[in-house]
């Protein structure tokens, strides 16, 4: 889920970069040297998990997990996502420097929305509630990210309207898979290590 280099118009790139800088400033303020290792090692785990391909019918899709990132890291999602994307740009040539801002917004804003909407229900007493919260967090993360990509494309010019539609459509199956896997991860963490979901890091 990246906006490629050289596609989006310059004002959109600039606005994305400004928003990413602001979000990172908030996130970095919430992170002190005490919890830096926790944030960092968990982010590395997310980085590796995002390389995992999950089968859907005849094809496969890779996980994004930005909903889960939001639940675990809260506002610190912003710098964590920024660094993850920078690593992808340098190591795998996915995305690049000029789109770093917009892509950070695309991933991190849904993460924070999920954090604000679902972190309470995920900690509820009932497993069913937590599972639903987990599914919604996973699905919302993808849906919002796809919607943001579509929106950024539309801001760049009307000619992108069909591309934006196609992009959004392509993400519906991924949305469902991501929701299911996120729900299972949440249930697993509740059983084995509930303090991870308790806001210990953010």
């Amino acid at each position: 889920m990246h906006i490629s280099e050289g596609v989006v118009a310059a004002p959109v790139l600039a606005a994305g970069a400004a928003a990413a800088v602001a979000g990172c400033a908030v996130g970095l303020r919430k992170m002190d040297y005490q919890n830096t290792p926790k944030v960092a090692v968990l982010s590395s785990a997310f980085f590796v998990a995002s390389l995992v391909h999950i089968p859907i019918g005849p094809t496969s899709a890779h996980l994004v997990l930005n909903g889960l990132i939001g639940i675990l890291l809260g506002w610190i999602s912003f710098p964590a996502v920024l660094v993850g994307l920078l690593l992808q740009a340098i190591l795998f040539q996915f995305g690049g420097i000029t789109t770093l801002g917009v892509n950070t917004v695309v991933m991190a804003v849904p993460a924070i929305v999920c954090y604000l909407l679902y972190s309470r229900i995920i900690r509820s007493r009932y497993d069913a509630g937590a599972a639903i919260g987990g599914f919604l967090a996973g699905a919302t993360g993808i849906l919002l990210a796809g919607a943001l990509v579509a929106l950024f494309l539309l801001f760049s010019g009307e000619q992108f309207i069909n591309v934006a539609r196609l992009f959004l459509l392509a993400h519906f199956p991924v949305m469902v898979i991501e929701g299911i896997v996120t729900a299972f991860i949440i249930l697993f963490l509740r059983k084995i290590k509930p303090e991870l979901l308790g806001g210990d890091i953010r």
Binding site: H2, I3, S4, E5, G6, V7, C24, M31, Y33, T36, P37, K38, V39, A40, V41, L42, S43, S44, A45, V48, A49, V52, I54, P55, I56, G57, S60, L65, L72, P79, A80, V83, G84, L87, I90, L91, F92, Q93, F94, G96, I97, T98, Q159, F160, N162, V163, L166, F167, A170, I180, V181, T182, A183, F184, I185, L187, F188, I192, K193, L196
Partner: protein, 251 residues
């Protein structure tokens, strides 16, 4: 999964100070991103190809990387050529492929690949540790540098942990399929990865406290800006200025 093929080498590019390379990569990426004209986009691509050629990278590997990265561009080709009004060159039922649409999509393709090649030639050749070190010199916030350094360092550890987990799956005869069981298994695997990461980070934190970590890394080697670095910076800056002037003149 995580490999750095382009970071090792002994080419002209690899010898340039990483700080210079990073700044030039940012400048060139930004300049190419705002190009609005096909022929100038090709000039940008030419500049990018020069950098990559000078870096003498493994061509086959580079092509394979480009192919993967161009998936988004492929999606643009499926839709964008049909999204413009103008001179029709091909009709498929209700869809009209127009010359304007094709030229526009071609421009985006050229720009996208030009920026990717700039990144490969100037950034990926640095190696992550040099990038972190250089960003430290370029006044990037200290906490962000910490995060970058840590995430890079431990992504390898986590990759190893993940490989161990999938090995245990293989031993138990797990086959990835489209089923709830498979999704639950992936959920548990990733959950385990998170927990291992968390517990590992506690050990790391204790180790750092033991060694009196106070938020500063002590560096043993430092970059030195040599005359050849200044020369390279000058040549690359001149190239960027030429592209800017051409773009400005054609409007």
């Amino acid at each position: 999964m995580i490999e750095e093929h382009f970071s090792t080498g002994d080419s002209v590019i690899h010898r340039i100070d990483p700080r210079v390379r990073i700044i030039c990569a940012i400048v060139y990426s930004a300049v190419i991103a705002v190009i609005g004209n096909l022929s100038i986009a090709f000039i940008g691509l030419g500049a990018a190809i020069v950098f990559v050629a000078l870096a003498r990278l493994d061509a086959l590997h580079l092509l394979r990387r480009l192919l993967v990265v161009n998936v988004f561009v492929l999606m643009l080709w499926l839709v964008l050529p049909f999204s413009f009004s103008g001179d029709t060159i091909l009709s498929l039922g209700p869809l009209n492929m127009t010359q304007q649409g094709v030229l526009y999509t071609l421009m985006l393709t050229v720009k996208c690949n030009a920026i990717i090649l700039i990144n490969v030639g100037l950034l990926s050749t640095c190696g992550m540790f040099n990038v972190v070190h250089a960003l430290n010199h370029l006044r990037v916030p200290n906490k962000l540098i910490h995060l970058l350094f840590f995430i890079y360092r431990f992504s390898h550890v986590m990759q190893y942990e993940y490989a161990r987990l999938t090995d245990t799956l293989k031993i138990r005869g797990f086959r990835p399929k489209t089923s709830m069981h498979a999704y639950r298994t992936y959920g548990s695997i990733i959950g385990t990865l998170m927990i291992r990461a968390y517990e590992r980070s506690e050990q790391i934190h204790r180790a750092m406290v033991c060694r009196g970590f106070k938020g500063k890394y002590w560096l043993l080697d430092h970059f030195a800006l040599r005359r050849s670095d200044v020369l390279a910076a000058g040549i690359m800056a001149a190239g960027a200025v030429i592209i800017i002037i051409l773009q400005w003149k054609t409007g």
